[in-house]
């Protein structure tokens, strides 16, 4: 199916995602929450090391047990599995003055790139793919790079774009950061 998305829509989605990143980096979390619809699923699965099916490093005994998928499944553990409500809870927690992992807060920089926009599964939906590099520096010398891809599904609500689904896939197996106390 040809991509019927207009240049104007692509620009709109790009600006929407850049604005979102700026709000996050400026710690304007309450405003950031408005980028999401009430039926949000915000999901960050984990990654596994698996041998590809043609790998000569193993001979498979039971083909029915073979699993090539690196990204954890819908019913498996994830780094994050959030709704709009639980994201609100996380933002509220940050404001308690006792969210120690963010006290003092991280200095973050969300670099959002490789944005592709296409029609979603229904006529009122848009799908946007993007890559991110999120640099976190905190305290004296904490330094983490969170790098990965996102898939967003969004729609217009009263003229405003809102994200109803965000899948965040990080490019690490063992997470090299001590925690995930920021948003993506």
């Amino acid at each position: 199916m040809p991509n019927l998305i207009t240049e104007e829509t692509i620009r709109e989605v790009e600006q929407f995602l850049y604005r979102e990143a700026r709000l996050l980096d400026n710690r304007r979390f309450s405003e950031w929450l408005e980028f999401f619809s009430e039926d949000l699923r915000y999901w960050m699965p984990t990654r596994s090391n698996r041998y590809p099916v043609n790998s000569k490093a193993i001979s498979i005994l039971d083909a029915s047990r073979y699993e090539e998928e690196e990204v954890s499944g819908e019913d498996e553990l994830a780094f994050m599995e959030e709704t709009k409500k639980t994201l609100e809870m996380r933002v509220a927690r940050l404001a308690t003055g006792m969210a120690w992992a963010e006290d003092p807060p991280s200095r973050t920089r969300h670099i959002i790139t490789n944005i592709e926009v296409e029609q979603g599964d229904t006529s009122d939906q848009l799908r946007a793919y993007s890559n991110f590099v999120m640099y976190r520096n905190r305290a004296e010398r904490d330094e983490d790079f969170y790098v990965g891809s996102r898939e967003d599904i969004m729609r217009r609500e009263g003229g405003q774009l809102r994200i109803s689904y965000r899948k965040i896939v990080m490019d690490q197996n063992v997470l090299l950061a001590k925690n995930i106390s920021n948003f993506f």
């Binding site: 596994s48 047990r65 599995e81 809870m89 120690w100 001590k178």
Partner: protein, 422 residues
């Protein structure tokens, strides 16, 4: 400088040297005397249910491959090719009849046997004793209620003796219903720049930090705080051998942040009491540590994890979620989502722990800081052996008694040349 291990832990005075959290000389001794001798948790059987299934993990800093062989028997081996020492398996898990080393192609069966060596006839002249060059196996492997443990010490006591009275407390997490538990697919793995003993003692003995360090999560809906009773009950429980349990009150058996989980706990309460016996009416085991470094919890998350040491100031956590096998699917799903929101790298409770453990480790780099012992004096003289609990138990729900027993065991193992002396 000769290492005087005895001076590092004074459990009677409640004083612990900071040196044990930072010094490499002590850490190297731990790898030998703790991790190469103790029974260490490997995985749950439900993670490798079928013949050929394997999973990779660590015992101390040794990379270990746990495999169910073609006949269905579980074995554990150094995940190291005996030829040049290359790491054999680079996958987290999978299914195999054989694993082949990426360097020269030596092939090993899922029972650890050396199966094939390239150029055996022309280069080795057919002269290589395959029986001597298989994967190095653990010295003993045993399971308890689906939990697979192993030790590299052939002289270590049996797993039954090693766990002792702790076994019943493990049942309160892993065998509450017929069929025991199963592991939710997937795993949390992450790096924390802290000494391995800090999380082990935190889960084993630190009820104190919850009401302060985790208050933001408790008041934001990530965990249901205990019912706010005047006398909430519970205590710190040491069933022996360095194992630790934190218990909440007998009535607080369903402190989960979702109604569906609370309803489920009510529904199975009679069955659980019947299965585990009247001791469960005295308190509810809620968190714990199997010495040295396998911890587990229920309540806001049903998780077990191992704090794999990676040097004196670094660990890799491998953490899994478990659910009662007999629980209905909607309860399992509720446990999965509420659990990972509370515990794991992004967990609203756990993310604050990592930061504290890191700083509790790093400050010890200071030579002067290191001179001052740490305070483990809470409740000193206020714990006793409780016949009904089969364990040393604190009189008040908050106490450092568990860490004192934990570090006593640590000290004993660090000094002992054989298990008879422990």
């Amino acid at each position: 400088m000769v290492l005087d291990v005895k001076s590092l832990v004074d459990a009677e005075a409640g004083l612990i040297s900071r040196r044990i959290f930072i010094e490499d000389e002590i850490y190297q001794e731990e790898l030998e005397r703790i991790f190469a001798r103790c029974w260490l948790f490997l995985c749950h059987e439900s993670q490798i249910p079928q013949p050929g299934d394997f999973i990779t993990t660590y015992m101390g800093e040794d990379s270990v491959l746990v495999m169910r062989d073609t006949s269905g028997k579980i074995g554990a081996f150094l995940n190291v090719c005996p030829h040049r020492g290359n790491r054999l398996c680079r996958a987290d898990n999978g299914n195999a009849s054989a694993l082949i080393c990426a360097y020269h192609g030596w092939a090993f069966g899922n029972n650890g046997n050396l199966q094939a060596v390239p150029n055996l006839q022309d280069a080795y002249y057919g002269d290589l004793d395959h029986s001597k060059w298989g994967l190095v196996p653990v010295a003993q492997l045993d399971t308890y209620k689906g939990m697979v443990f192993a030790t590299f010490d052939k002289n270590a006591p049996s797993l039954t003796d090693y766990l002792g009275e702790m076994a019943w407390y493990l049942d309160c997490f892993f065998d509450r219903r017929e069929g025991g538990v199963e592991v939710v697919g997937g795993v949390h793995r992450w790096i924390i720049p802290c000494n391995w003993k800090l999380p082990a003692e935190n889960f084993g003995g630190d009820a104190y930090h919850v009401a302060w360090n985790h208050l933001s999560a408790l008041t934001s809906g990530f965990s249901r705080a205990p019912a706010g009773r005047q006398t909430p009950g519970g205590g710190t429980i040491s069933p022996g051998n360095g194992h630790c349990i934190l218990a909440v009150g007998a009535e607080d058996y369903s402190a989960a942040p979702a109604q569906i989980i609370e309803d489920y706990e009510e529904l199975i309460r009679a069955e659980t009491l019947d299965r585990l016996g009247p001791r469960l009416e005295k308190m509810t085991p809620n968190v714990g540590t199997v010495f040295p470094h396998m911890s587990f919890l229920r309540g806001s998350s049903r998780s077990f994890r191992v704090w794999h040491p990676k040097g004196p100031d670094k660990i890799e956590v491998i953490s899994c979620q478990f659910v009662d096998k007999a629980a209905p699917p909607e309860v399992k799903e509720a446990l999965r989502v509420t659990g990972l929101r509370a515990f794991g790298p992004s967990g609203a409770l756990e993310q604050d722990d990592m930061d504290n453990w890191e700083e509790c480790t790093r400050t010890n780099r200071g030579a002067v800081t290191r001179r001052y012992a740490l305070n483990y004096q809470m409740g000193l003289g206020h714990d006793r052996f409780d016949e009904e609990l089969g364990a040393w138990s604190s009189d008040f729900r908050l106490s450092d008694s568990n860490p004192r027993y934990f570090y006593q065991r640590w000290s004993s193992l660090m000094q002992a040349d054989s298990w008879d002396q422990v």
